[in-house]
Symmetry: C2
Subunit: 61 residues, 2 copies
């Protein structure tokens, strides 16, 4: 499986907000994250950068 | 390996612009994509959505 961990970058520090993320798509107020277990999280952020081989997705508020 | 294919969405149609993408990060005029072979591509776009289990990254101009 090629899910990734999602980090939000605040004060130049990445903070883990969700593990095993499958999809990220725009929502009304930012992004909707869904992990491989079907759990959802809404975040006021945009997708900043990816490092897929490292399984990392970086978001910024 | 958990690389993905990058598509740019133009006129509601995704068009493949790079295969086997590892990293995407902001650059001066948009995004720098680097694939697992070390090839680089610069695109005037932002990261719109991800579907990682499907190995797909969607960009928008």
């Amino acid at each position: 499986m090629c899910e990734a961990n999602a980090y939000i970058i605040e004060n130049d520090e990445p903070r883990l907000i969700m593990e095993a993320v499958d999809t990220i798509e725009p929502s009304d107020e930012g992004l909707k994250l869904v992990n491989i277990f079907g759990e959802q999280k809404f975040v006021k952020a945009s997708i900043h950068a990816l490092s897929l081989v490292d399984h990392k997705v970086y978001l910024k508020p």
